[in-house]
């Protein structure tokens, strides 16, 4: 599916994968929101992401035998660094995320099973006392995860399509959990407007994803 759209702010021609609730214009960086009759300009402008990420909107790859493509990016910052979350469509109809932090990659999905969802979020709701949570074991679908990382983060850059948006610059709590054989789960607690989300998935190796249409990085030709 491909949708053509004219940016209500700058008039630039945008090609979308689907009628995703939020879109950041490629040209003017204005964030647009889906309304009944099309997209409306929120008048919020995203910064430009400048980093050494090898990914870009349009990069494609394979995960567990399913082809996927990247359609949006969220860049996040916390006290001690940055990371990217790439919004991806999968050819089996699912949408998921490719998380990219210091070269470590993971593919995550929101769990369909509400029980899994509840386990993660209820186990972690006292996240404000984060030091108490570190190292805690959380069992998700009978896999023992250990809380490995807790940070306060904010979204700083949006590109392309996004299923939902917290206002840029709003801090939320992100909790990472590590499984025994490459599993990863994350939970997000957003204070304003209050929301909680959970994701489960796997760490992946760069070469395992058989990527194509990557960004060209100056000084780093791909062999």
């Amino acid at each position: 599916m491909a949708i053509s759209l004219s940016c209500p702010s700058c008039g630039g021609e945008l090609n979308l994968h689907s009628y995703t609730p939020y879109v950041a214009c490629t040209y003017c960086r204005h964030i647009l929101v889906k309304v009944d009759e099309g997209y409306r300009d929120t008048n919020v402008v995203s910064e430009i992401a400048e980093d050494m990420s090898p990914f870009q909107i349009g990069s494609e790859g394979w995960f567990e035998g399913i082809h996927f493509g990247l359609i949006g990016r969220l860049r996040l910052a916390w006290e001690h660094g940055f990371w990217n979350e790439w919004y991806a469509y999968f050819d089996d109809g699912r949408f998921g995320w490719l998380a990219e932090a210091q070269g470590t990659l993971a593919i995550l999905f929101e769990p369909k099973n509400p029980q899994v969802y509840r386990t993660i979020l209820e186990d972690l709701q006292d996240h404000d006392q984060s030091f108490l949570l570190l190292g805690r074991e959380v069992e998700i679908s009978s896999v023992p995860f250990v809380v490995s990382d807790i940070k306060k983060a904010e979204s700083i850059v949006v590109e392309g399509e996004m299923p939902r948006m917290s206002p840029l610059g709003t801090f939320f709590t992100a909790i990472d959990m590590m499984g025994p054989s490459g599993e990863i789960a994350t939970a997000e607690f957003i204070p304003q407007p209050p929301a909680r989300r959970a994701f489960v998935g796997r760490y992946v190796g760069f070469t395992d994803l058989r990527l194509s249409n990557l960004r060209e990085l100056q000084g780093w030709p791909r062999r």
Binding site: E50, M52, S53, F82, Q102, G103, L134, P180, E183, Y203
Partner: protein
């Protein structure tokens, strides 16, 4: 946040500081003055006007910005940290390697040995506070536990590096691999991290980064592969196979031996016959014999007899010989009885063809000097199983592996000399 600059000016000395992992690095340490600069979302901030040992930083074994291919990926050296064990004061260097596609690795340089490390995205089994960890089916044994401190830092990092930062660490080994557990004492918001390291030879690193003149290692590193044990493991199959072949051959030989007795003759030799060849029997070998066993018995009593046998075919084309010394002594000294030697002797001679043979014996005996005769019972059997060659072959076969085993053991002892947890230390 990071800008499109490829370098930032050092706010202290003005020298340009390279930015090689743009948008990822958050700490920069100036190569010329050693100041540490933090990148924040608002810009750059000088943190420490550190008095680093600049002469040390000026002579990095691998300069910042060097590129080299290790394990099929090209890496750029972007950071350097020297750490020190706060108790034992030994130091080691960590080079941060970067590739925008593959992320980060560490090249660790310790006691002139290199290892290549990667952060793990899964937890090893077992407690990091215990003496063993399990990872991907391998057991890792505790080698060292300590506290490290940052003593020098230059380049850029994706984490906040602080001069004198302390870190609890524990090294677990399964050569050529190791797992290091680290918990930073500076932050409480991260659990223990685990990294997997792998031994890399100095030659490989030198070739990869085009450097030379690195000094030769003089110690055994904790995860240095034990080549003796590797050789032993790779040669084990061959040795076992050879042993099996030898055992099967011997088994075949023993089971097909007929042990055919063809002669038993008793002959008394007199002094007159001393030292001269006497015909004692004639034998017929009907089928080619693989070997011939000659056994002599003589009732020697604190005395000796020496018999030299010669078998000669009637046509003179084949012959065999054996010399035997039979001696038997006994007595008692200081109330203790003793005996030495025996009254019989056995020799085996090699194969002889199917022919008729004359058996000659030449005898010397102690009894001749007393003018007494000497009696010798001679028995000849064909195709007896021989064990001595078999044992010699087995011994020869195992000699090299035994030597390698000992050297391998010595190597392990040397490896563990540096550890408080050596399995070779008897407490």
């Amino acid at each position: 946040m990071a800008t499109s600059l490829k370098s930032i000016p050092c706010e202290s000395c003005g020298a340009p500081i390279a930015v090689r992992a743009k948008g990822i690095s958050i700490t920069f340490a100036c190569e010329s003055c050693g100041n540490i600069i933090d990148s924040t979302r608002d810009g750059f901030k000088v943190l420490t006007r550190a008095h680093q040992q600049m002469e040390l930083i000026g002579s990095l074994a691998i300069p910042l910005g060097s590129r080299g291919v290790l394990f099929d990926v090209e890496w750029e050296v972007i950071g350097f940290v020297r750490r020190q064990d706060v108790k034992w004061l030994f130091t080691w260097d960590e080079y941060l390697l970067f590739n925008p596609y593959h992320g980060f690795r560490f090249l660790i340089y310790s006691d002139a040995h290199f290892s290549f490390a990667e952060l793990l995205t899964r937890r090893p089994s077992g407690s990091p506070h215990g003496h063993a960890l399990g990872f991907e089916g391998e057991g890792y044994t505790l080698f060292h536990r300590g506290v490290s401190q940052v003593k020098a830092v230059v380049g850029e990092f994706y984490w906040r590096v602080r001069f004198n930062d302390k870190c609890d660490f524990a090294d677990f080994i399964s050569p050529p691999y190791g797992i290091t557990m680290e918990v930073s004492e500076a932050t409480f918001d991260a659990e223990a991290t685990f990294s997997l390291s792998r031994y890399v030879s100095r030659e490989v690193v030198q070739a990869a980064f085009g450097i030379s003149s690195l000094s030769k290692p003089f110690k055994v590193s904790p995860i240095q592969p034990n080549h003796y044990r590797e050789a032993l493991a790779s040669g084990r199959g061959t040795v076992i196979l050879s042993c099996i072949v030898l055992i099967l051959a011997q088994f075949y030989f023993v089971s097909t031996s007929e042990r055919q007795s063809i002669l038993q003759v008793t002959r008394t030799f007199t002094r007159m016959e001393a030292g001269t060849e006497q015909l004692i029997a004639e034998i017929e070998i009907s089928e080619r014999a693989r070997n011939i066993e000659i056994r002599s018995d003589s009732p020697v009593n604190n005395s000796w007899v020496e018999v030299a046998y010669e078998l000669e075919s009637e046509d003179g084309s084949e012959s065999g010989w054996a010399t035997q010394a039979i001696e038997y002594y006994y007595g008692s000294t200081g109330g203790e009885s003793w005996s030495e030697g025996s009254t019989s002797e056995v020799s085996t001679i090699g194969g002889l063809g199917a022919k008729r043979y004359k058996v000659f014996a030449t005898v010397e005996a102690e009894s001749f000097s007393r003018d007494q005769p000497s009696t010798v019972v001679t028995r000849i059997r064909l195709d007896v199983p021989i064990w001595s060659n078999f044992f010699l072959a087995i011994a020869a076969l195992l000699m090299v592996p035994c030597f390698v085993l000992l050297r391998g053991h010595a190597f392990e002892r040397k490896r563990w000399e540096e550890s408080d947890y050596s399995p070779y230390d008897s407490a």
